[in-house]
Symmetry: C2
């Protein structure tokens, strides 16, 4: 079983890294780029035979406590088969 966890800075939090990339792209001849936000994601491989509900509950805990900082970031979990 596989899962993806996406972690992005919250809308209300400045993302200086993304702003820098957007400005750099504008300067490199891509004026159509209005904004960039950078996040991270995790491809997680889960042992086969795990129960989907339990996996989802565990992942939610892992994403909140280990993979993201809930003060400034939000996360999204996607379980694939």
């Amino acid at each position: 079983m596989k899962a993806h966890v996406y972690v992005t800075p919250k809308r209300t939090v400045l993302d200086p890294q993304g702003q820098t990339i957007a400005r750099a792209l504008n300067g490199m001849g891509h004026p159509e780029i209005v904004g960039v936000r950078q996040g991270k994601f995790f491809e997680i491989e889960i042992a086969p035979g795990s129960e989907r509900e339990a996996v989802l509950a565990n992942l939610d805990k892992i994403a909140a406590e280990v993979l993201s900082n809930p003060v400034i970031e939000e996360y999204r979990i996607e379980v694939l088969d």
Copy 2:
């Protein structure tokens, strides 16, 4: 218009950051986590009225030249409306 660019280390490249996370999770009582690979992603906001084909071609160039290191990383582009 919005686009997402996902950048991951190639399968053949070691991902020590991901391995460390996987080991940490195993030690924290999640033995079902077999592996973790960490990547980054970019939410890109594109000026409205841009032509989809041109945007895709530009994004491909941007992803290859700016957002990723093609020697060790691969990327995937997703254009949303």
